[in-house]
Amino acid sequence: MVAAGLYLKRFYTVVRGEVLVLPSRVIVALFFLVLLGMPLISQNPYLIRVIVLTSIFAILAASWDLLSGFTGQMNFGHALFFGVGAYASAMLNVHLHIPPWGSVPLGAAAAVLTGLIVGIPCLRLKHTYLALTTMAFPIILMGIVFALPDITGGELGISGLQRISNSLIVNYYVYVGIMLVLCTIMWKITDSHTGIIFHAIREDELAVKASGINTTRYKLMAFCLSGFFAGIAGGLYAHYMRIAGPSTLEVSMSFTVVIWAVFGGIATIYGPVAAVFILFPLLEFVRFWPEYRMLIFAVVVLLILLYMPEGLIPWVRDKIEKECPRCKIRNVATRKTCRICTAVLD
């Protein structure tokens, strides 16, 4: 009892000292709480479906940010990893009867392998050339899908996949839980030593090389990590929709991911996640005006990018928080002095 009390007190101290000091952390904590508590408020299947699909696409958008946002390897064909994950999971589940718990990670492994295969030739390319080359890969894979209809189902895709769970609530917690865990892992990666090197490669690859770091290894690692997370998203999507079809490889899928990431703010991980959680439900919300759904979506995206070129979330964060000019620690915008070094904030 005493030990529990001590733990509670410590938890309260941590929350008060680490979370409540910054609005952005409060928002993230609320985001976790609302998502995890949502089924307690409503078990509406439509709402749950929208949140589950949003969670899957949030993983995909964050995985793009890990590769293109942090490492600067502009990938315009991210649907490749998503599609490989979806098709590999579907084939393993339907043809070899491997349950989702095995087929999704194995699908992700296939996407990692694809990341390696794509990454190696792409190492020689930069900027626009890299972007255009990556765009070609999902199209090539789609050609292969259509060329082998006996294995891939051709135009119809592979249908009849097993669900992760038949329970609405279990499904919800599995998908949302995986999203929260994977996005936290991606955010921790970008905050780690490896993440700093990714960042540095994007800013000045030559300087990183001059520091004795094998940038090739790190760029390949970024392709593989991004492929892994996108592959998981693809596998989850296939099992949720119960079909893996050519639409998972479409160019529009690749571009939608880029739109989400740019809208939320690249090189942040949480930006693309937030963007998906705003834009995907928004498209559902405007179903009452079906003729103008896409127009409304486009206007919202354009307005945000016009007035917030760094993306929505960094803009919001800059409005509610200030960075200390001396110790670089973030403070709530209403503070006059830094909460750590007491330097005067501008």
Partner: protein
Amino acid sequence: MKRVTFGWSFFVTLCLVIFMSVPVWGRTIKIGVIGPMNFVQGKGHWNGAIMAAEEINARGGVQVGKEKMNIELVKADSNEFLSMTDATNAMERLMTQDKVDFVVGGFRTEAVLPMQDIAMDYKKIFIGCGAATKSICDRVAENYSRYKYWFRGTPFNERYLVATSFAHLGLAGATIKKELNVPVKCAIVGEKATWVEGMIKAAEATIPKMGFELVGVWRPSAVATDVTAELSAIQKSGANLIFTIFSSSVGITFARQAGELKIPAAQVGINVEAQKDGFWEATKGMGNYVFTMNTYARGIEVNEMTKPFVETYIKRFGEVPTYTADTYSAISYGLVPSIEAVGSLDADKIVAHMENREYMVPSGKVKYQKDAQGRPTHDLTWGPGYLTSLGVQWQDGKLVAVWPNKWKASPTAPEVTYKGMVPLKLPPWMKK
């Protein structure tokens, strides 16, 4: 005075609210219409459903047991050409938010399969009006207890589409032999698209068996704006019959340039652009004598229901109905009579009734099939006496029907001719 004014205002408002709420008191049958509503296919779904609902409601609604119920349509944009997730979300919304009793529509197979799964989860009858893939109906036979709520409304499955095309080729080949007294040399021209692959394979295997010489296969882009190279090669090959497989804009380009160059060959097959009223204008009249498969045509009576349906549709929407407008038949002749017969909205009872019925629709007679093992597939029966579709040809600015005209599916089968048929015409420049 103020009090009196407020009191009266409150009373009037209350009366208005009660008056406006009256229709809500009566239970309605909610039918979800799902399709790509910003595209011609979805518009067809919606137009057909509107016509059905208006007709049924005008005659007092549907008799469900002792109660009369009106039909209420719920429009759902699946956006399935652009997004699969949009399609499934729209279906989930129909099931859980709009709480529809039945669903009609769907077009792209990749979207229809997951939409079918959602409807089956909720045990709601879903009548597909767009996807021709056979495997959607195979699911009914394989897992009847789960998929029995699915029925195909239109079109008949892909195998029968191919069979119909070959019947059209047979008619054109016979006409060439009879009128020109030359052997038939056939070229296959299919746009570069996946759905064409299977048809080309089937055509390559079947055309020689029909006694025609196969001179080659050409695959222009689906959006080609110039096909003169292909046309020159076809002319050089000596082809006098061209089996076309087009669903995109290349159908216009090919017909126009073939007309301009006066290629001495008859174009027969599928050309979706040629099914539209605007084809003549789009080809500047050069699409004369182009022959394509279609479901409806002006002035053709497959049965006594065809003419009233087509004419009312043209009057209401200004165009000949496309096959996705068969949501009209699915509601008016499929669902409603079965609901009235069982006197309930219970899906299981309606399924049991519907799958054993044979009923007339404006495009023919519907009978749901069973597979070789006798399991219900809820797929449509094709052939004489059932659904056949039409073969239509542009003749001097008019889209007229030329098939089935004394058509026999087999030597022993009955002859089929619909009212309003005219003979197939070969381009006059073939006779020189």
